[in-house]
Symmetry: C2
Subunit: 348 residues, 2 copies
């Protein structure tokens, strides 16, 4: 803001064009309710004077800001970055702006950011995943701010969401792993507390075990914050605790890349000595050697759909429709048959 004093107002434009402020306002916001001739004249004046509506005034009078807020755990990695980019592009094309904040995976920070964005006038909010205090949803309802969740989809939830079923997706990958003959599975997961996506993924692996007659209680799981180093450390710990593991399934690609790196340092070949899988299919997954078998998530589609749905909610076209997107298996070389190293796998 802080516009210079000489920046023209609606009133100036109205006078210059010889119409009322109401008409200028309509030309800008509801052009079809204005006679073509008037419209042309007014728009020319608007251009000539270089008029830009004052944001605060418009927000107050219209009781909306054309701004949508998104709070994501972090912008630092491609998991959310790609979806967020698509989200912003779509918002833009609908005439909305994006206010972003990050929570660093901390519920208290997220809560503070929600309040900040609401009081900053966000017309609606995008949040990641379902899990948070009920009080937050109540607050948002009281404030009349629509919320949409993303990156997760579950049946029977109150909050509308655009996402995929993390549990089913991971279950399907685990089924594939078990089909190949793996029986001793280790897991490196992101911290599951407060993170339904992470918890669901682990649950998906257990589902697959049950379905295949394996005992889910035998699953070895290490939880660790999201980061390559931590993935490496967890892999080390897991393999030392049970050198007989034939596969390590990771809760996301970043942890998996850490595991992959550590396996090299430990002199283990992937997938001959041990298989490794990820989740998300971020760019990294196709770049590492061997390529990471993982679950492909439709990031851009999710971002785009979330944007259109949220705008529809703000404009009362919808009052919150959920959509389940499909995640799919992305098979690459990091997943193999157990015991390959003994049965004619390539020599070192």
């Amino acid at each position: 803001m802080q516009q210079e004093r000489n920046s023209p107002t609606l009133d100036d434009v109205a006078k210059a064009a010889g119409v009322s402020t109401a008409t200028v306002s309509r030309c800008l916001n509801l052009p079809d309710r204005v006679a073509k001739k008037t419209l042309d004249r007014v728009m020319k004046t608007v251009d000539d004077m270089g008029y830009t509506p004052n944001f605060g005034a418009r927000a107050m009078a219209a009781r909306r800001t054309f701004t949508i807020g998104a709070i994501i755990p972090t912008m630092e990695n491609s998991i959310f970055a790609r979806g967020l980019q698509a989200f912003q592009e779509e918002l833009r094309s609908r005439g909305y702006n994006l206010l972003v904040a990050s929570s660093s995976y901390r519920p208290d920070v997220e809560k503070e950011q929600i309040r900040a964005l609401v009081s900053r006038g966000a017309d609606a909010l995008l949040l990641i995943g379902y899990e948070r205090e009920q009080a937050i949803y109540d607050y948002l309802e009281r404030q009349g701010v629509p919320v949409l969740l993303a990156w997760a989809f579950l049946e029977g939830q109150v909050q509308p969401s655009i996402g995929f079923n993390n549990r089913a997706a991971m279950c399907s990958l685990a089924n594939r792993v078990i089909e190949l003959g793996h029986r001793r599975i280790g897991v490196i997961s992101a911290i599951t507390k407060g993170n339904d996506r992470a918890a669901e993924r682990v649950a998906g692996i257990r589902d697959a075990m049950s379905q295949n007659g394996l005992n889910p209680e035998n699953l070895k799981v290490i939880e660790t914050p999201y980061d390559i180093q931590n993935g490496a450390a967890a892999f080390d710990e897991l393999m030392k605790a049970d050198p007989g593991l034939t596969v390590v399934m990771c809760g996301n690609d970043v942890l998996a890349v850490g595991a992959l790196r550590k396996s090299k340092e430990m002199g283990l070949r992937v997938p001959e000595d041990v298989s490794i899988t990820g989740f998300d299919d971020i760019e990294l997954a196709s770049i590492v050697t061997p390529g990471l078998t993982t679950v492909h998530v439709p990031h851009r589609e999710m971002g785009r759909k979330a944007a259109t749905e949220l705008v529809d909610m703000v404009e009362k076209i919808s009052n919150g429709r959920s959509a389940e997107l499909q995640a799919s298996l992305q098979i690459r070389d990091s997943l193999g048959v157990p015991g390959m190293s003994d049965t004619g796998g390539p020599d070192r």
Copy 2:
């Protein structure tokens, strides 16, 4: 916005506390100008009623929004993501929110986004690099919106900037390359038109050649949009045009990773047959094999400093101070001595 009709206003609070709206406003914004006793009573009422100031009204009356806009080429990769994250964290701690938009490296889109963020009430703007129409700077000046540039630093520029000297940094890497004995250098650059960072980096390589008695005109440069695939294709083209190149210097790490991948497909060993370097030192650089020799950029520091400076500008504490940060060489295995393959490098 769209607050429920029952959400209390300043007026409601004033009545309930038995004071004027001016006093409530002061309690919220200038607490030291209010008697302790009054302050306590009013603040209690504010809490009891769950009062939140209306953003639009405040923005209009105060003529500022406590929102800062940033327009970056893309959020999709860690080049800007990491700096942006730090930028947002710092803004938050100063009580400001972040409005982001991306330009997709297109000047016309950037221009449109600048107008959008200004008309949406950004108190100030962060832009990447120097190069854009003078008319844009004039427009911003007329609107009274402070601008700070980042990701670049040059002496003698009008606009304040927090960044590093792209040219000097790349020159220093090129000097290192030449020192190692490389004479036939190929370059894969991002598109330089409209992108001063990219242009400066190429210029830095030419500087180093001149300093070492090589003819800069012999430098082979391919420009290509920023993307792994393109890096791979450019590498192919470069090596086919001149198989005698001993090193390919890339304008950024993403292009370099593409080149690296292509070199594998072509059966060329790095660095034995050909060396490859990058720029930015994003996470990817340390993950690929061999690790990428590159220029390390202090992303987070840049983001943080830009945030504090921009807030200072909005609050008239500063009218725009530039700061040059230091980029440094990050030496890894992708850069070697030319001709290693003939002189005892490891066999295939």
